[in-house]
Each structure stands twice: as C-alpha cells, then as structure tokens.
Symmetry: C2
Subunit: 122 residues, 2 copies
C-alpha cells in the first residue's frame, strides 16, 4: 500500500529503508525489544530471558539498539557492575508492530510446520 510506494519514492531507491529494516527486523532485535517490554532489565536478566542468545550477540544487538536510539543504557558504578537497559520512547513505539509480528509467528507455527512437512514429501 502507501508504505510500499513511499519506499520506492525515496531518493536512494529505498536503500536506507532496507538497511534499517534489516537491522530492526531480525530475530534478536525483535526478541530483545519484546523482552524489554517488561521494563528495565540488567544485562544478565536479558541474557536469561532470551533463551539461545550468546553474550556477544546480546552485546551487539543492544549496542545497535542504543545507537539507533531505541534503548537507553545506564551504567552504575557498583561492584559487581550493574548496567540497566530500558526502552526509550521510540523503542516503546516499536513494541506494538513487533509484538504483532511475533504474535502472528506464534499463531502460525503449526501451520507453517505442517506446510514444510508436506513440501518435504512432495
């Protein structure tokens, strides 16, 4: 619809949009944002709540989110170190479409798995 059209209208042929879509719309970014829906969380809490993510990937994902202004990072000068991550206002605005997509995925997992099975046999 109009979104797709405006994607073409941009001067760079949508390159910027594609680059940003590529970063926003990936497994880890989506899961981190969805997890931060719970509020302020520490690095380790995020690591525990997102099964399967490695420390490195969590670090990189958080850095990108921070750079893009979707997540704020607060370091407390304590021992053991304490770093808090929280969604910014922009980050919270991503929550709705992100959860919509995640919800769609959850709803359609059985259907997709069935389709894959059928495809494999054919």
């Amino acid at each position: 619809m109009k979104y797709v059209h405006s994607c073409m209208i941009r001067g760079d042929g949508g390159r910027t949009l594609r680059a940003i879509l590529d970063q926003i719309c990936n497994k880890w970014t989506l899961l981190v944002v969805a997890t931060l829906d719970a509020g302020t969380l520490r690095f380790k809490e995020l690591h525990q709540r997102i099964p399967g993510i490695s420390q490195r990937m969590l670090t990189l994902t958080l850095r990108n989110l921070e750079r893009d202004g979707l997540v704020s990072r607060t370091v407390h000068a304590e021992v053991p170190p304490r770093v808090d991550y929280e969604l910014t206002e922009t980050g919270r605005s991503l929550l709705e479409p992100a959860l919509a997509l995640a919800g769609w995925a959850i709803e359609h997992v059985p259907q997709i798995e069935a389709s894959r099975e059928a495809y494999k046999k054919a």
Copy 2:
C-alpha cells in the same frame, strides 16, 4: 506480553519460534510479501519492484515462502516461460503485521538516522 510468555512456554524453549521468526522476519521476506500485496506477479516483475534484491536472493526467498505455504507458485507451459507468484490466504494474513512493521520503519527513518549521527560523534 502474553506472546513473549507463550514463546517461553513451548517445549523446545522457543527454538522453533525463533527459527520461524528468523525466516519470516528478514528484509527480503518482508519486502516480497509487501510487494505481493499488489496481487499476482511474475518473477521478473518482483525483481523490478524490489530494488536491490539479487536473483539468487529472490529465488531463495520465494522458495522458502512457498515451502512455508505463504506463497503459491504457478508455472505456465508457455514460451517465454511464465511463473506466477501469489500470496496464499496464510500469506495475506501476514500482510497486516508486515506492513505495520514496514510502516514503523518508514516513519522512524529520520529519527534513527539522527540518533546514529549523534552516536557517531559521541
């Protein structure tokens, strides 16, 4: 919210969901689905309407979408060959959340770019 929770509840610790999210939620899949909003399209039409995608990536993306039952592929025995791609009903149900995310990205491109500039300088 409940989506994130049910993601954890699954027996495999959300591995299946993550794998599916990873495939649904990437640049090319999203753009192909959004482009097929226009209706039935041929391979070449898709290639032209999605600037920046390579033939290889378009082929792979379409194969995955077909395998997952989101896109139907119809080969016409004509010369020159004609292959039509169309969203299935499941595919069309993805349209709404996909366009919502794409819309979010388009709306926030300037903000994100500004944030990146500020981050680079700091």
